[in-house]
Amino acid sequence: MRKLFAPLLVAAAVVAASSVAPLFSSAKADTGSTPAPASGMVPTERALQGTQSTVNPAQDGVEIDERALQIYTHVYGPVDQSKPLDFAGQPAAVPHTYVAGKLYNVQVLKGYTYATLLGQMGYYTQALGVSCTYCHNVSNYAYDTPTKKIARTMQIMSNGVTRDWVDPVKRDYPNYAVTGVVGCATCHRGAVHMDVKWNIVPVQYLDYNNKSTKQAGYAVNSMYSAAKSLGVNCLFCHNSADFITLQYYPTNKIAHRMWAMVDDINHKYLPANIKAVTCYTCHQGAKWPAVLVQAGLDQTPVQAVAAHPEVHENPGAHLESGVAR
C-alpha cells in the first residue's frame, strides 16, 4: 500500500513547489506592465483593449466623419443612381441645383483648380478600377454619398500617412529616401478590394522586456508576416548574432516606425471592427512599395527607388565600414 501512496506524495510535492515558487521568481514575475488579457480573445484584440481612436481635426484640416467609418460594413459598392437625393443630412455647401464646371463641397482637395481636380478624379478611377458612379451621384457630383465619404477619409489618410510617417523617414534616413508619397494606388493597385494577408500583432508586442517566451511567440510569428510581405528574410533588418539586442540597422529602425504606422492607420482611419492594414497592404511583396506617386498635385505613379541601392542589399554596410552616419 505504501507503494501506492508514493505517487500521491510526488503530486503533493509538485503542488507545494508551485505554491512557494513565487519566492524564487525573478523580475520576470512583474507582469504589471502587461494587463491580464481577457479570456476568449485573440492576442490582437487583447492588446487593443482600452485603446481609443485618436483623431486630430486641427491637424488634418477636416474632421473625419465617424459615420463614414461605420458604413464600411454596411454600404460597399457603387452609388445607387436611381435613389432620389435627400439634402436633409447633406452639408450646406451641397447645391440643390448642380452646375458642371464649378466646385462645390470640396473639403479635402482645396488646393485644386477644376482642371487639376478632374485629373485627380481620373487618378482615383485608375487606382481603384472604378468609374465616376462608384462614388458620385452623376446628377449632382457635390452630393455626399457613403462611398464618397469613405474616399474623403481615404484621402485624409494618405495625406496623413505621408505627413506623419513617410516624410519623417525621408528626413531621418536620407540613404533610404524614396521619391514619392503614398497614393491610392500604393495599396489598391487597380482594385477596390485588396488582399488582407500576413497579419501582424500591435506594435507594443515588439517590446520584449517583461515578456514571456509564449508572448514572444506572437511577435516572432508577425516577424515572418513582415518578411513575407516585404519579400525579405530576417537579415534585412536583424543581425542574426542577437535578434533583440543588435537592432541597429536603419531598416530595423524604419520597420519599428512602419509598425507603429500600421497601428496608427488601423486606429485612426479604419472602423473599430476592421484592422485590415498590415505590412502587405502597401508592400505586397516588395521591399519598397512599388507604386508611389509624385508629391503634390501631380499624382503620376512612380517607382520608389533608393538613393543608395548598395545600402539596400546590406543594411549595415555603412556601419561596418566605419562611416559614421
Binding site: 507503494k3 501506492l4 508514493a6 505517487p7 510526488v10 503530486a11 509538485v14 513547489a17 508551485s18 505554491s19 515558487a21 513565487p22 524564487f24 521568481s25 525573478s26 523580475a27 520576470k28 514575475a29 507582469t31 491580464a36 488579457p37 479570456s39 517590446d207 520584449y208 522586456n209 515578456k211 514571456s212 517566451t213 509564449k214 508572448q215 514572444a216 511567440g217 516572432v220 510569428n221 543581425n239 542574426s240 548574432a241 542577437d242 535578434f243 533583440i244 539586442t245 543588435l246 537592432q247 541597429y248 530595423n252 529602425k253 519599428h256 556601419l319 561596418e320 566605419g322
Partner: protein, 340 residues
C-alpha cells in the same frame, strides 16, 4: 604478413550459425509464453515479443501515461470543435498551451489541460523510474539504467517545470504540440539572445555529436564483426580471436586505442547522459542568471569583435540594452577588444 600469421596459426573458434529463432529461454528463468512474430525473422530481428513483467510501478506508470495521452487527445479534439477531419488536418498545428503566471489555470482551455497533462506526465515518468529501481534492486545490478532515465527526466522537467518555476510563469514552458515545440525552441533562443552563445549549449552539442560518433563507431564495429560471431557477445567475450576481440584489435590498429566491450559502453553512457545534463544546465541558466547570451559572450570575451561594431551596435539598439548578469549599464564600462 600479419594477416597470414593470424589466419594460419590461430583459426577462429567455431560458433553456431546465428539464427533469430535462437533467442529462447537459454537460462530457464522465463515466465509465461512469449508471442512469436515470424515476419521479424526476415528482417534479421528476434521474433519474440513479450513477455512483459508487470509490477505496481509499471501498472501505475502505464495508467498515468494512457490518462495523459487521453487528456491530450481530448484537448486537441475539443480545440477542433470535435471535428475529426480538422484534427487530422491541423494535427501539427494543434497546441495545448500553458497558462500565464504560476498557480492553477483559470480554465481547462487556458492552460488547464496543459497542467493536467503535465501532472500525468510527471507521475508516469517517476513511476517508471520506480520500476527501474525495483528491477535493479531485484537483480542487484548497478544503477546505470535508473540514472540515465533520471537524467532524461531532469532535462524535460527543467524545460517544463523547474525553469518556469524559477521564471515565475508557466508560459515559459513549451506548449504541447508538434509545431509549438519547434516554435518554442526558436522563440526561446531569440528572446534570450541567441542560444548558440550559451556555453552549456556548446557543451551539449559536443556531447550530442560525440554520442552519435561513438554510437556509429560501436554499431558499425559490431555489425562488421558479426561475420565472426561478435553478436554472440556473451558467449565469446572472453575468447581470443573472437569477433569482439578482433573489434578491439581493429581500433587499436586504427587509432592506437581501443575500448573493450565494457568500456565502450562507459563512453556511450557518459556522452549520452552528459548531453542531457549540460542541456539542462543551459536551459535553467537562461533568463534566470543570464538575460542575453550574446551580451554575456561580449562581456566575457567569447564573441569575436569586428572593431568596435559589437559594443557600439548594442549601444545603438533601439531596445533597452540587456547586460549580462542583469547589471545596469555603466557609461564608463569598456569592453576588451579583440576577443580572446
Amino acid at each position: 604478413m600479419a594477416t597470414v600469421i593470424a589466419r594460419t596459426t590461430l583459426p577462429p573458434i567455431e560458433l553456431p550459425a546465428p539464427s533469430p529463432l535462437d533467442d529462447g529461454d537459454l537460462l530457464g528463468i522465463r515466465i509465461g509464453t512469449p508471442i512469436r512474430i515470424p515476419l521479424l525473422a526476415k528482417l534479421g530481428l528476434s521474433t519474440q515479443t513479450g513477455v512483459i513483467w508487470l509490477g505496481t510501478w509499471g501498472v501505475l506508470s502505464t495508467f498515468f501515461f494512457v490518462a495523459g495521452v487521453g487528456v491530450l487527445a481530448l484537448a486537441a479534439f475539443q480545440q477542433m470543435n470535435g471535428n475529426l477531419l480538422l484534427a487530422i488536418k491541423y494535427f501539427a498545428n494543434i497546441q495545448i498551451a500553458p497558462p500565464e503566471g504560476l498557480g492553477l489555470a483559470p480554465s481547462l482551455q487556458e492552460g488547464g489541460y496543459w497542467q493536467i497533462n503535465l501532472t500525468f506526465w510527471a507521475l508516469s515518468v517517476l513511476c517508471w523510474a520506480g520500476r527501474c529501481y525495483e528491477r535493479l534492486t531485484r537483480y542487484q545490478w548497478r544503477p546505470f539504467l535508473l540514472f540515465a532515465w533520471l537524467a532524461a527526466i531532469l532535462l524535460t522537467s527543467t524545460i517544463w517545470v523547474f525553469r518556469p518555476l524559477a521564471m515565475g510563469s508557466w508560459a515559459e514552458a513549451p506548449a504541447l504540440g508538434l509545431n509549438s515545440d519547434l516554435d518554442w525552441a526558436q522563440n526561446f533562443s531569440v528572446l534570450w539572445g541567441n542560444l548558440y552563445y550559451d556555453p552549456w549549449h556548446m557543451l551539449a552539442i559536443f556531447f550530442l555529436f560525440g554520442s552519435t560518433m561513438l554510437w556509429g563507431m560501436h554499431g558499425a564495429t559490431i555489425l562488421a564483426t558479426a561475420s565472426e560471431g561478435s553478436h554472440m557477445e556473451d558467449a565469446e567475450i572472453k575468447d581470443m580471436h573472437s569477433g569482439s576481440h578482433k573489434s578491439m584489435l581493429f581500433w587499436r590498429w586504427t587509432m592506437g586505442f581501443n575500448a573493450n566491450p565494457k568500456t565502450i559502453h562507459d563512453w556511450l553512457w557518459w556522452f549520452s547522459v552528459g548531453t542531457v545534463l549540460s542541456s539542462a544546465l543551459g536551459i535553467i541558466t537562461t533568463g534566470t542568471v543570464v538575460k542575453d547570451w550574446y551580451v554575456w559572450g561580449v562581456d566575457h570575451g567569447w564573441v569575436s569583435q569586428y572593431g568596435e561594431i559589437t559594443r557600439s551596435a548594442i549601444n545603438q539598439s533601439s531596445q533597452k540594452p540587456l547586460v549580462g548578469l542583469n547589471r545596469p549599464e555603466e557609461p564608463g564600462v569598456t569592453t576588451p577588444q579583440g576577443g580572446f
